[in-house]
């Protein structure tokens, strides 16, 4: 196996864990306490979710590990492009839906 020499230390895991907890609590408080206007709220909780996803990737899933071309990173980036296309494309195309229903 090529990628276990620099997998994270206990420190990295704890940092990642704490950051994840913080990024879970922030949007929770924002939503439950109604601190922001609706669109600002949506944007900020989505940003928190994306940040937490990035933390999972770096601190827990060790996306930086391994030598040679990083095909897993390329696959992931391509996958994210597809994800955005599926979700945004479907919402855009189906937006006429709100007028019909």
């Amino acid at each position: 196996m090529s990628n276990h020499h620099d997998t994270g230390s206990i420190k990295a895991y704890i940092i990642g864990f704490i950051l994840s907890i913080v990024l879970t609590i922030i949007p929770l408080v924002l939503v439950l306490e109604h601190l922001l206007s609706k669109s600002a709220l949506v944007v900020s909780i989505l940003v928190a979710a994306v940040l937490q996803f990035v933390i999972q990737l770096f601190f827990f899933m060790h996306i930086r590990d391994g030598e040679g071309p990083r095909y897993n990173v390329m696959a992931l980036i391509l996958g994210l492009v597809f994800v955005v296309t599926i979700v945004a494309g479907a919402m855009w195309i189906m937006s006429f839906n709100s007028q019909v229903q």
Binding site: G16, Q52, N72
Partner: protein, 201 residues
């Protein structure tokens, strides 16, 4: 048998492909496809979430319930990381212990989810009530099925570990399931945000 094969590989197979690394890459690519699978469910949820047919709406989600679920899954993601750390230190006992903790947390998570679903169904919020509920149960249920499958997989690996110990093959298997487990937590973050938080907002 496997031992002898791996010894062989290191002896005179320079040009050869690293079998275990190959499988890890294959699994990464599988995770990408799984990502797209969830993306399709999310897209459908996004399109249909207002079609409540006069029934249960997203405002009525059980807030303490989904907060507990979120933290349980987050902690289990952390403990599965600790299992990998123990494995890298060659600590078989610690590895098995953390895997058991992770699987137990996963089972608790699934228990809470089943509890949530049965309560909703008891209130009349069934999968056939509205398009919103169909897409909700499908999205969250698919995630729950993934977690359930992961629990059984983990139990299988615990048996293999206790029999074979930490070898290149079992090491690869543990790395793969921990990737899977972190991935499920990452998907849950978006369910938590898009379905629950935006729902009760």
């Amino acid at each position: 048998m496997q031992q002898s094969v791996s010894a062989h590989v290191s002896d005179h197979d320079h040009g050869h492909v690293d079998q275990e690394g190959l499988k890890v890459l294959g699994f990464w690519i599988f995770l990408v496809t799984d990502c797209l699978l969830f993306a399709t469910f999310f897209a459908t949820y996004a399109v249909l979430h207002n079609h409540t047919n006069g029934g249960f709406t997203a405002k009525e989600f059980d807030i303490p319930g989904f907060i507990i679920e979120t933290f349980i899954l987050l902690i289990s993601s952390f403990t599965s990381g600790l299992a990998v750390l123990a494995m890298n230190k060659g600590n078989k006992k610690g590895l098995i212990r953390w895997l058991i903790v992770t699987a137990a947390l996963g089972a608790t998570f699934v228990g809470f989810e089943i509890n949530e679903f049965t309560h909703m169904v008891a209130e009349g919020a069934t999968i056939s009530k509205s398009a919103f509920l169909t897409s909700f149960f499908s999205l969250v249920g698919t995630h729950g099925l993934h977690v359930t499958f992961g629990i059984f997989w983990m139990i299988g690996l615990i048996f293999q570990l206790s029999r074979k110990g930490i070898t290149p093959v079992t090491k690869r298997k543990i790395s793969i399931i921990s990737l899977y487990w972190h991935f499920l937590d990452a998907v849950w973050i978006f369910i938590f945000t898009v379905v629950y938080l935006m729902g009760v907002m």
